[in-house]
C-alpha cells in the first residue's frame, strides 16, 4: 500500500472514529495548542516590525549595558578583535571590494530588526535570553548609533526600529527567484 493510501486510510479512520474533535485531514497525532501557550517561544521579529515587543531604549542606555555585558567579547566601541568569532559590529570596507569585504551591521545588514532579533535570541553568548526587551532595544540603538545610522538621542522602539534605513537594503538580488 502506498504511503498516500495509508495516510488516506488513517485520515478516514480519524474522521470516523474520533469525530468532530479533529479536522477531517488530521491524524490526531499533533496536540492542539494556543498561540498564548507558544508566546514565550515566539521570538522571531520580521523586517516590517511584526512581533517587536513593547519597550524602548537609547544609545546612551545601550552603551552602559554594552560596557557591562558585551565589551569583553566585542571590544571597545564594537571594534571586535577580542573573542574569536565575535566580529566587529562597526566598520567594514565598501562592498564594492567584493568577497574580501568584512560584513558588518553598518555596511551590510538590510534590516535593523535583525539586530534586535539576534541580540535577543543569542546574546550574551553565555547567557542567551537573559536581557530584558528594554535592554535589547537600548543595545540595538547603541549599535545603530555606533554605525551612524541613527542619532545619539534617537529612541528605538517597536515603531522607530523598522523605520531605520540601512545603507545596503536595496543592493540584494535573487539568484533563484523561482524557488521562493
Amino acid at each position: 500500500m502506498s504511503t498516500r493510501r495509508v495516510l488516506t486510510a488513517l485520515l478516514l479512520a480519524g474522521t470516523c472514529g474520533i469525530g468532530a474533535a479533529l479536522a477531517a485531514e488530521n491524524t490526531g497525532l499533533g496536540k492542539p495548542v494556543s498561540e498564548a501557550d507558544i508566546k514565550n517561544w515566539d521570538i522571531a521579529i520580521l523586517p516590517d516590525g511584526t512581533n517587536l515587543p513593547p519597550g524602548s531604549g537609547t544609545p546612551a542606555q545601550g552603551a552602559r549595558i554594552y560596557a557591562e555585558k558585551c565589551v569583553s567579547c566585542h571590544g571597545e566601541g564594537g571594534k571586535g578583535g577580542v573573542a574569536p568569532g565575535a566580529g566587529p559590529l562597526t566598520g567594514g570596507s565598501p562592498i564594492s571590494n567584493g568577497i574580501d569585504t568584512l560584513k558588518t551591521i553598518g555596511n551590510y545588514y538590510p534590516y535593523a530588526t535583525t539586530i534586535f532579533d539576534y541580540t535577543r535570541r543569542a546574546m550574551p553568548f553565555n547567557m542567551p535570553r537573559s536581557l530584558s526587551d528594554d535592554e535589547v532595544y537600548a543595545l540595538t540603538a547603541y549599535m545603530l548609533a555606533l554605525n551612524k545610522l541613527i542619532g545619539e538621542n534617537d529612541v528605538m522602539d517597536a515603531k522607530t526600529l523598522p523605520q531605520v534605513k540601512m545603507p545596503n537594503r536595496d543592493n540584494f538580488t535573487l539568484p533563484y527567484p523561482d524557488r521562493i
Binding site: T3, G30, K31, S34, I99, P128, I180
Partner: protein, 441 residues
C-alpha cells in the same frame, strides 16, 4: 567508437582521453585484467615479486575479542576521523569535517557526518523535546518525537552540504590541504522522517503563508526562513539518520531536512515552525549566507547547492606507488536532482573521458564515479566535472571566479570562509614521484 558491445568480447583497449584514462567499460566483467595487460610498462607492475611461503598470523591462533554491544572501527583505522576546527572547545563555533579522502561508497557513517555547531551541542532529553507549528495556520499543533514516530515515515538518500563547503577554493592560490579540509562540510546519509507537508496540512496552513521560520532549540535558537514551496516539494522532519536516531551533532532528536538546500537552513534540534507572509531576515540569512559578488552586488536566498564533484582518490595527502593501474574515484551530487554524467581528465582539462557512475543514482544524493587509469609516471592533473539531469554543469574555475570572485591575497587557513557556494572543479596535480598537490588548472 570501436568498442564492441557483444558479450565475451574484450572492451576497447584504447584510452578514452589523454594521459592514460581508460574506457570505463573496462571495469565491466574481466576488464581490469585486460587493462592490466595493455600498454608498455605494464609488465613490471603486474609481475609478482618472489614471495615467502605463507604462515598463520598470531590473530588466527587464539580466541579473539569480546563481541561488543556497539561496535567501533578497527584500531588500525584510528586516523579515519573528522577534522575539528575547535578541538579544545573554546567558547565559539565548531566544525567537524568528513574525511572523504579516507572513505568510499556513498554513505557517510554517522560518526563521520560533518557537523557545525555555533554554540555547542545541546543535551536534549527526547522525552521533553517539543516541536510546535503555528502562525498562519488554522490550529497550532505540538508534536513530540513519540508522536512523529507514529506517522508513516519516508526514507530517502540525501547529501547535506554547508554553503561554506569548499570555501578554501575562493583563495586566489590553492591551499595544500586534503579533500577533507576543502570539501569536508558535505556528507551523505539515508534520512528517515515525516514529510513536512503532512504536518503543515494537519495544522491547516493559510494559503497566504509564503515562508516558514524554522527555529532550533540550541543556545542561539538558530532560525532560518524557508519558502513554503520547498516544504511542499520534498522537505522532511528527519528523526533517523542511516537507520538510527540522529547524532547529537546532526540535530538530535529532530531536524529539518531540505534536500539540496544549504546546510544551515536544515535547522537542527527543530522546535518551532512559524508560518508567515515574509522572510524573517534572520542574522544568518542577512549576513553569513548572503553573498557579495564581484563589483559589489549581493545575492540573498541562494539556497541551492549547485552541481559539484570532486576526486577523493588519488588526492592530496596520498601518493602513487609507481607507474601502473589506478582508479580515479570521487563523488558527484546536485541540489537540483540526479547526477547525469561525470567527465574526468588526467591532463588538466585538455581531454576528457566519461567516468562510470555507480548506481543506483539517487535524487540530490552522492553518486560515486570511477575511472580506470594507467599512470605512466609522467606529470598529470586529475579533474572531475559533473552534469545533473537538468543539464546544469559544474563550472570551470576561470568562469566561476569571474562570476563569484576570489580573494585578493591567499587565504591563510582552510578553516576560513571567504565566501559561500563554491562548486567549481578541483584539480590534483601528480608529479613524477607520485606526489600529489592541490593545483588550479
Amino acid at each position: 567508437m570501436s568498442t564492441s558491445k557483444r558479450r565475451g568480447r574484450a572492451p576497447s583497449l584504447e584510452p578514452v582521453a589523454g594521459n592514460g584514462l581508460i574506457d570505463r567499460r573496462a571495469l565491466l566483467g574481466r576488464g581490469i585484467a585486460i587493462a592490466g595487460a595493455m600498454g608498455a610498462g605494464a609488465a613490471g607492475t603486474m609481475t609478482a615479486v618472489a614471495a615467502e611461503p605463507l604462515t598463520d598470523e598470531p590473530w588466527s591462533l587464539e580466541f579473539g575479542q569480546i563481541t561488543p554491544a556497539r561496535q567501533t572501527p578497527s584500531p588500525y583505522e584510528k586516523n579515519v576521523v573528522r577534522a575539528l576546527s575547535n578541538p579544545n572547545g573554546e567558547f565559539r563555533n565548531s566544525h567537524a569535517r568528513t574525511p572523504h579522502h579516507l572513505l568510499n561508497g556513498t554513505i557517510t557513517p554517522n560518526s563521520l557526518h560533518f557537523s557545525i555547531n555555533h554554540c555547542g551541542i545541546p543535551d536534549i532529553d527526547p522525552a521533553k523535546h517539543k516541536l510546535v507549528i503555528h502562525g498562519m495556520v488554522r490550529q497550532p499543533l505540538e508534536f513530540t518525537l513519540e508522536s512523529l514516530s507514529r506517522y508513516p515515515l519516508t526514507t530517502r538518500m540525501y547529501f547535506l552540504e554547508c554553503a561554506g563547503n569548499s570555501a578554501p577554493m575562493f583563495s586566489n592560490e590553492p591551499l595544500q590541504v586534503t579533500a577533507q579540509m576543502i570539501h569536508g562540510l558535505v556528507s551523505n546519509a539515508e534520512w528517515t522522517g515525516v514529510k513536512l507537508s503532512t504536518l503543515l496540512d494537519e495544522a491547516g496552513i493559510d494559503p497566504g503563508a509564503k515562508w516558514l521560520i524554522a527555529e532550533g532549540g540550541d543556545a542561539q535558537f538558530l532560525d532560518r526562513s524557508v519558502p513554503v514551496k520547498k516544504a511542499y516539494d520534498d522537505a522532511l522532519v528527519a528523526i533517523y539518520q542511516n537507520g538510527e536516531r540522529l547524532m547529537p551533532g546532526n540535530g538530535y532528536p529532530m531536524r529539518l531536512l531540505l534536500p539540496g538546500y544549504q546546510g544551515n537552513m536544515n535547522v537542527k534540534f527543530l522546535r518551532r515552525i512559524k508560518a508567515v507572509d515574509q522572510p524573517a531576515m534572520s542574522m544568518f540569512e542577512s549576513k553569513t549566507y548572503s553573498q557579495i559578488l564581484p563589483g559589489g552586488k549581493t545575492w540573498r536566498f541562494h539556497f541551492l547547492m549547485e552541481v559539484k564533484s570532486f576526486i577523493t582518490s588519488p588526492s592530496f595527502g596520498q601518493s602513487l606507488k609507481g607507474p601502473g593501474f589506478y582508479t580515479i574515484s570521487g563523488v558527484a551530487y546536485s541540489g537540483t536532482g540526479r547526477i547525469a554524467k561525470v567527465m574526468v581528465s588526467a591532463d588538466g582539462g585538455k581531454s576528457w573521458g566519461e567516468a562510470a557512475l555507480e548506481g543506483p543514482i539517487h535524487d540530490k544524493a552522492f553518486t560515486r564515479f570511477v575511472m580506470p587509469w594507467r599512470w605512466d609516471g609522467q606529470p598529470a592533473v586529475l579533474q572531475s566535472r559533473a552534469w545533473d539531469e537538468a543539464g546544469n554543469v559544474q563550472p570551470l574555475r576561470a568562469e566561476f571566479v569571474k562570476a563569484r570572485g576570489e580573494t585578493a591575497k591567499p587565504v591563510a587557513t582552510p578553516l576560513a570562509f571567504p565566501n559561500q557556494h563554491y562548486n567549481s572543479i578541483t584539480s590534483w596535480g601528480v608529479d613524477t614521484t607520485g606526489g600529489i598537490k592541490h593545483v588550479y588548472a
